[in-house]
Symmetry: C2
Subunit: 226 residues, 2 copies
């Protein structure tokens, strides 16, 4: 499985780049260094000039791949969501029982980095940090057209859709499948954010695990009325 997944390349929606960074070695380097810099300094302090210097290249080259740093951040986030979707898919493959399937999916959401796929191209651990701490800053959707917005959120939507399916598999009459899916995904990330940034606002890390929280919310919500 490790071998197989190592060859898997994630296809990112075309609206999230100017020129596909997967199509060249410079593109690969752009992604790799971006993750490092953003993980270290945050999205505000990250500039194309810094990235260019780290690359031994120039701003001009980077602008050939991405319109601006927000788009690059969205690319990274898209890549992350797609990867997460794959991890959910693989973790739930060949499992029959609906509750076991959902349970596995939630375990992936709770600690996505521990399920290793292709580790060479992008540092998944740093990418996870970025998405948890920085990605919402790029969700500055206000100035995007609806079309662009859909492009940007495609990967995220697909992950939501997959969780939604698992929810409906457990309770086909459930009234809030989409909302619960989004809540579980967001909670997984937000609670991680709180744990590191505002630890007084969460119980996670002081005994209860994130996984137990997600499991609890999901399965309590899905219980049929008695």
């Amino acid at each position: 499985m490790h071998r197989l997944l190592g060859q898997l390349t994630i296809k990112i929606n075309e609206q999230v780049y100017v020129k596909d960074p997967m199509s060249s070695s410079v593109g690969h380097e752009i992604l790799r260094h971006s993750v490092n810099i953003i993980a270290q300094e945050g999205l505000e302090l990250f500039t194309f000039k810094k990235l260019a210097t780290a690359l031994g290249s120039t701003e001009t080259t980077i602008y050939r791949y991405f319109h601006n740093k927000q788009q690059l951040m969205i690319y990274l986030a898209s890549w992350y969501w797609s990867m997460l979707e794959w991890k959910v898919a693989f973790a739930t493959a060949n499992i029959e029982a609906p509750c076991a399937r959902l349970d596995k999916a939630l375990t992936v959401l709770s600690a996505p980095v521990s399920f290793n796929l292709q580790s060479d191209l992008l540092n998944e651990s740093k990418l996870y940090d970025i998405v948890v701490n920085e990605s919402f800053k790029a969700f500055a959707v206000r100035n995007l057209s609806k079309k662009e917005r859909i492009g940007y959120f495609q990967a995220y939507s697909q992950l939501c859709g997959r969780i939604e399916e698992l929810i409906l598999l457990n309770n086909k009459n459930y009234k809030f499948p989409k909302a619960l899916a989004a809540t579980l995904i967001e909670t997984a990330h937000y609670q991680t954010f709180l744990q590191t940034q505002l630890s007084d606002l969460t119980d996670i890390g002081k005994g209860p695990s994130l996984n137990s929280l997600l499991h609890h919310i999901a399965f309590k919500a899905l219980e049929e009325k008695l």
Copy 2:
């Protein structure tokens, strides 16, 4: 009650401004116009220069009140969270039954604008839009000291704390009171965001109400084991 609340002024943590905007009429105008501009154009396009022009004033004056636009945004968000806390407090006052108290609180979270307090100073409806759509962009916490961070999030923390209390009142042995509180608050806002920006990702607005979702998540989670 309307009269009483009209006189209530919300005290904002000192770390969220340079000079208290509540202390002068120019300060009031700054807040009022900020809300209008941010609601209309978003936080990215909002600049102190624009604000100054709208005020018939200058950048210099605004810098005397706030270090930068992020701080101003945080001020507005703090104001919002404090207001929400008050609304929760008033909505649950003099109610005995724990479940009725929590229920009332969730109703406030679902539609905070419909509970009117002081409407003159800040346009609450616009402020709500801003917090839902823009505030997370100011949560660029990375470059803040822990001290500043605590200042910024004080109002938010207090609201979380109040919800947490209501949760424990319903089930004193509950394992995730903080996490559930944060989840309910975030879900209330995130689902509103989805409803307007990415409506395919939520059920809210297509039958089920936000209030019913929050109610469902909370009370299912709080059910004692059978």
